[in-house]
Amino acid sequence: MKLRRSMLFVPGDNAAALSTAFVYQPDSIMFDLEDAVSPREKDSARLLVFQALQHPAYHEIETVVRINELNTEFGLKDLEAAVRGGAQIVRLPKTDTAEEIHELEAHVARIEKACGRSAGGTRLMAAIESASGVVNAVAIATASPRMVAIALAGFDYLVDMHTRRSGGSEPELFYARAAVLHAARAAHIDAFDVVYGDVNDDEGFLREVAIAKGLGFDGKSLIHPKQVELLHRAYAPTPEELEHAKRVLAAAEAAHRNGLGVVALDGKMIDPPVLEEAEMVLERAEAA
């Protein structure tokens, strides 16, 4: 099981960040060529990311490159650098329709062939950043067998919705979170929650992590290394959850051994979904 709890953003033009990001051990590192890089540094950042991808330290960790949109002058050049550099995943920003994924997929296949990379080796993910993207989330998530995840990006989405972050339970993001999450589950891929921008507010960050985890998101996009450990701790099963999962699975095994069709623990019947959840808790604990 590949855990995707934390996707750490690393600005593509920041040599120091590119040289050290792996030490924070996020589940995935996302080299950003889009919003974090000014237009006049796009060429240099693209080469920096291309070279960093080939550094041995990044062979041990899942690498993602956020390219610029394909309809910009930078998008296709970024894609060449990402695929030829060996990025495991390409993240397309501002994805509104499934057609954009189809276009991306065709270009990736062409570049893989041109550089001798195995066909299908480059996976894709989409960031949903608008009302259109949210409405089309299922079509986007299921647009290609290369898709491994979708992410909700809150800033652009809320601007598009004519609103802003309210803090607290964030009702303004509820529909989008639910829609993106349902699309991911229907497509059997992972879902990432929005970034939390105030890196000095651990309490607010953890409050938001609790919302995302409670809804069922696999993880969050992160903009600061200090958020990695906080997130991993929050996503780790508690000792009580782990103990309960072990007892559920032990009870199921005992029932199976004794030829019983019904599994019970502490006088309560255990349904298949409870068993499945217990297996998931153990898998996550082992993978972590």
């Binding site: 120091a16 240099s44 080469l47 920096l48 080939q54």
Partner: protein, 98 residues
């Protein structure tokens, strides 16, 4: 590739380097390297710079490197960026950049 104009790439921040390129009046290839770790890594930095220039078929130009403790991959990327800017290259030959 031929250096036809001055260019800069990189920064003077820690773990980075600044590469300054200019056309050569004498038609020669001149490389000057300054680094806080020149005693320990000067030869390695020079090797990475010259290998990168060789792959790009650069035989002329003045290159001034101010290193701030950059990894080899960063040195390679900044030299490549400076060369592509100095040669006005739009199309990349990715095989020469690996």
């Amino acid at each position: 590739m031929k250096v036809i104009k001055e260019s800069l790439a990189g920064t003077l921040e820690s773990s980075d380097l600044l590469v300054k390129v200019a056309p050569s009046d004498k038609g020669s290839l001149d490389i000057a390297i300054q680094s806080e770790v020149i005693k320990q890594f000067g030869k390695q930095i020079e090797r990475v710079v010259t290998d990168t220039l060789n792959k790009l078929s650069i035989t002329e130009g003045s290159f001034v490197i101010e290193d701030k403790g950059a990894l080899d991959c960063v040195i390679r990327a900044r030299v490549q960026a400076a060369v592509l800017r100095a040669t006005g290259s739009e199309d990349m030959d990715w095989r020469k950049l690996s």
